[in-house]
Symmetry: D2
Subunit: 434 residues, 4 copies
């Protein structure tokens, strides 16, 4: 292992980068990072330079001897990196907005990762990510690739199936559950064990243990236990529904279990041009206004509005575990390999894993009950088709993928949405022959 680390952030101009930098600074004593390379594309140059400026001020403020290097040359940035972090957005926010608007216009959920929106984002993003992986294979074959790019599960699966890169998919969903329970039960995160089963953005908690005591029933019944819980997190679920499920869904489950209510909300936002993409555009604008202020030399608090809470913490924790070979447990997107027996071996899943320097090993998941299994298998099959469609550029497969998605109400609807989306995204889809 190299004595000092080179970290490469692809999509370095992202508004999230300052949080990541903050985490690197805070852990420099154990990580000993020598260089952080921030790389982006021509269209993102302006934001990249703003971030780089802030980064350098942050380093200076912290007295941290990490070299911040900014480049548009991705290969140079990748060369000999120990860790490559990908947080790209192909087509930028403009295309995300299209994803949302086209979906909602056709009467289906419009969302960055779930449903038609996530599908389109995957088609745009997979070819770029596989190009990045080819460069990692060539210029940094031993590097770990930490992928945050959404839809993270689908992207990670594409990489697992079509490259030899050591990839791990990350999401801040799991760490947020830990933080939430830590607060609710007033215990440190280390005293909490959570059994997860699922795939990215469709993950269920099937067991919750606080200091070795089973406490999931607290959550499922909405009742606090007199023992030590201070309060119970409000999940916004019907308790009868939760209790009969016997598991805690994640936030993204609302798109499936509360489809009609969310559709109504989204339609309202759509009519007022206030979908999530619109909001994020505004937040980003404000963030970059702050970032470019030469007096700002810390991560601004406003970043928390952006979402992605604890995203940096989960990334840095993972890098530390790999680097220090700690053999501790993280919840990650990895190849299934029989861990969830009701899914194919070669797909990505999001489960607890033991992290070592040389490998990441999922912990066995027991039998999955049918109320979880049915939806999980359905969405995973959609994801498999999406990966195949993105890689082959086969519009028939794309039609099958989108039709299969449980949030799409008919083949005709899928066809119309797909047709419009392919047209709008034409420049990002060289693999589809128009």
């Amino acid at each position: 292992m190299a004595d000092s680390l080179k970290l490469t952030v692809i999509g370095g101009g992202s508004s999230y980068t300052p949080e990541l930098l903050e985490g690197i600074i805070a852990n420099q004593d154990v990580l000993n990072v020598s260089e952080v390379w921030l790389v982006d594309i021509e269209e993102g140059k302006e934001k990249l330079y703003i971030i780089a400026g802030l980064a350098k001020r942050m380093m200076k403020k912290a007295g941290c001897p990490i070299n911040i290097i900014t480049t548009l040359d991705r290969k140079e940035a990748i060369k000999d990196a120990s860790y490559v972090i990908t947080q790209i957005r192909v087509g930028q926010l403009a295309m995300r907005r299209n994803d949302e608007y086209i979906s909602i216009k056709h009467g289906v959920i419009g969302q960055e990762t779930t449903g038609a929106g996530g599908f389109m984002k995957a088609l745009r993003t997979i070819p770029v990510m596989l190009d990045i992986c080819k460069e990692i294979e060539e210029f940094a074959p031993d590097a770990w690739l930490l992928n945050f790019t959404n839809p993270a599960g689908i992207i990670t699966e594409a990489i697992l199936k079509h490259s030899n890169v050591n990839v791990i998919g990350l999401c801040n969903n799991p760490i947020n559950f830990y933080k939430q329970f830590s607060k609710a039960y007033n215990v440190p995160v280390n005293d909490i064990s959570i059994s997860f089963v699922g795939i990215n953005h469709l993950i269920w908690i099937t067991g919750l243990f606080i200091k070795g005591q089973a406490r999931i029933v607290d959550i499922l019944t909405g009742k606090s236990d007199s023992y030590e819980a201070k309060n119970i997190p409000s999940l916004g679920w019907d308790l009868e529904f939760l209790q009969s499920m016997g598991a805690i869904p994640c936030g993204y489950h609302k798109y499936y279990y509360q489809t009609d209510q969310i559709l109504a909300q989204q339609y309202e936002a759509f009519q007022h041009h206030k979908t999530r993409a619109d909001e994020v555009r505004q937040i980003e604008k404000e963030l970059f206004d702050i970032y470019q202020n030469p007096d700002v030399d810390e991560k601004p608090e406003a970043l928390e509005l952006r979402g992605g809470a604890y995203y940096s913490e989960s990334a840095i924790n993972l890098i530390k575990s790999i680097h220090l070979n700690t053999k501790d447990v993280h919840t990650l997107n990895v190849r299934n390999n029989g861990t969830i027996g009701c899914l194919p071996d070669n797909v990505s899943i999001e489960v607890n894993c033991v992290v070592e320097n040389h490998q990441v090993t999922p912990m066995q998941v027991g039998t999955v009950p049918p109320q979880i299994r049915g939806l999980l298998q359905h969405v995973k099959a959609y994801e498999e088709l999406t990966v195949e469609a993105a890689v082959t550029g086969d519009s028939g497969l794309a039609l099958q993928a989108l039709t299969l998605h449980p949030l799409i109400p008919s083949a005709d609807r899928a066809k119309n949405i797909l047709s419009e989306m392919l047209e709008v995204n034409k420049q990002y889809l060289p693999q589809f022959h128009h």
Copy 2:
């Protein structure tokens, strides 16, 4: 094996019975049936007697020495039967109508076997079917039970899981495909091979061979082959969708792939009080008017309007294959046992099977492609929960089952539909504690 057969028809007062009798008469030379017992419940007595009268006239006309015995004593009817055929409708057409109306009112598909309607029918029917199975276990343990009662896949699964009866689930879907292709290609049914994969009312054709020649592409592309096809059956599917699927869906798939269009049709019918239940009620009324005419001594042509085409033929063909130990291939609902590798072992599936006197063995199904697998696994998980809910009377499981169904758009919707359905069906649901 008994030298002469006793056949027992539970739900003997069904309007379908004359077709079955016609089949028995036509095959009496090989089957050598001595007695046909028609059994029904008190509420169905009137229709039972009408059918029995017609049955006797049919036997007389045909010069067939089969004894027609009518009874309300189910145990006596079952005792020592060689074959028991179940075609019951718990709650009769009135409850089917409720299933449809409540579903449509809540904005979801209202149908006899698919979605909320089929779910409710299963809850009503499974306890009665398991009672019948207990009687078969006691009074005719070697009998074959041929189940036509819908939802046939779910009912058959409940019996496979909760009784020791030799049950086979039947549906006329597969035979209709054979008949359709026989007509389209102008060849006898024996020259046709169809590879089926799926579960009852959700069955795909993945291979079609006419005289050993692969012809599925004819159907998927809508193009006739100059070789020997006379014409191509019109399936009413978008050809681009079909072709990319690489498989032929069955009619019930329209509820999944054309949900929005069918919902619109159903809502129209609902508003004019002309749902399928209303139509069937009218057809049945007319049929029984004919049946009770003492001059009628044949199956009337009007029966064909009732649906269920070739239902008798598939039943009689199956009885002949068992009776004569022909080892030939039928498409049946049986225990999976690893035949479809992506489904649990203990569920019912609908696939090609080899029929012998002593056993029915499914033929191995290859890998199922994701566009089929995702929906299949989802609906099957719903069916498993439905069986468990029906057997335990656990309303939490019922809520999970209904929410899981891909045609139900939210947990709230499921809860409201379930609540209303449980109330309306109260008298048929002793297992649910109110």
Copy 3:
């Protein structure tokens, strides 16, 4: 399908060929064979011509208009064939004798298909068979390849894994069980159903039904049933052992279940130069003396001493079923595909299959009990390694394969046997780099 059939027999000079010809003649009315090509290698030319002479006399005697064509040009023989039958013996009887003698000398079972002997035969034979398959892929891509070449299971697996040829592996073990029970119970073969589970030469009967009645207990207990069995076949097994197994082993199981007794017999034979290879050499010599007699124009009775009883019948029955698209049941070596759930998908197994013109589909096998499963999985893993060793020429894999075999008592013994065998077979093992 061609109107008249071209059959190609590779290894046409085999002493078995007359039996095959007899079968073809007997079924000419339904098969309508136009040409039988007998092909062999230079070293087998003399025997090939003798067989061809007899073949022509047989055709003449039978008044059968089938053209017998003799050639050493394998590609020409394969071109446009409808069926290719392979019955080759790479290295001829001399190498078989070496297989037996080296094995026994090292204190292990010396046998044509089981243990070290079968292993060595597989290494010699697989490359030749894969060459044949390449020619079939090129010159007769639609042909069915019926493989009798031993070890038939391993050879078939190599072809399934490393070619695209439509291959079926055949063995006369299953048909002999049918014949034996037909005689024992005095019923036609069609009244018998046998449930088989296993792989070639390691196949168990787990169910026996005579006219739909379960009769396996007759065999397992050695007791005749008063109902209709005339006598019970003597299997030479300890009845307590059989009964606790709950299944009927095949003859080759004796190498595993009676290893020490058979080793003693083989050592005796070895000392007197009377192993099976020696016997077969003598029988073959006598047979060819008869075959070349110009007065002989029928299959001589002496052929039955050669073993391989009903080998022709099973081949011809299979060809008839394919040709006539009968959809009937044969016991064949095919790709597993999940049929036997405790074995990998891509291996060959020997089970009941439904035969159609365009495909052969295995019938689902239920759960395999541990007393069968353990040995079956062990031998299959050995077979997988053997295929891999034969294809790659990797002597390390060969050492692992042979050591793994349950009849080899140590890695050292495996190493010594392998070393001697590789040396002796050098000319037949171009894939192994010496």
Copy 4:
């Protein structure tokens, strides 16, 4: 969790107990043990009292306030225990000696856990262990049962299948590998990662990482790497064999891979009445002579001759991990649950597991290569039958189990060995009806 721990040692009179006590003393600061209950049977009373005397002297010497309680009342000892450790020997050394002598006399491996000897020990031990488990279920349902009783894998499987106790099977094999590599590479154990696959006493190393660097090739090739390895452990294996296997076997593999050589050694020992049982008897005698010396107040060095090195360390480490909820990795015998995909779900396996206070979760094992898989599946199937035979007392199943074992050369041999063993062990086999 209780503030102070009650530990119960069943088979407390074992010569191993002092090592365990030494470990408890050394970790008292974190474990806070209040009571250690030593329980044994009437026949073991004398040894129990000797051990208890030594235990008290050890506590006094260490100034450790742990109460040592001696009893023959097992239920009282179990009541409210936090951890129960089982290290019993049903029939004591006398029966072990019989196991060895009968086996060797019949020409098969005679060993405590492998082959016929381990089989017989399992039949004697399982009923006693299941009785203990019933008492744990009743008197200490939350206790963890740490089972060292051999054959540990089979015993653990019997408990997993036939009780509800939280059981973990332990063996000192894995820890010895860590110690060996720690010494060879001169690194602390924490810097070593080993990938294990297998079952108790049949465990392979498929990956070895020292500080994240893959080093298994060092071992397989017998070559040291210049980087940091000080020396390479001598495993006594043929390097060509090891290298082609691609994995490191454990010591017990020698019974399978060097069967003939070990048989020869054992026969020699047998003739001189110096089998392992004879040796152990002598060592035990000498140990107890030391133990009862009132001047001895520490674990004597002579105990190391007894075998079982680091047995205490692995037990205490495990208790610490559970108690402190460390989520670290131990190699344990647990329920498979799909971790090793080629074995049934409900069997015991020995793999890396994450240990938490409330559960022990195996880490996913990748695909098992055929050279490992074949033997592993075979021996596991034997173990499954052995458990079933021990629980049911079915001598037919016992015959199948023993015949199936790959070290038994024929059904006849199995029958003779079984017959003699059942007779000699009659008093310990109430479940077998004689």
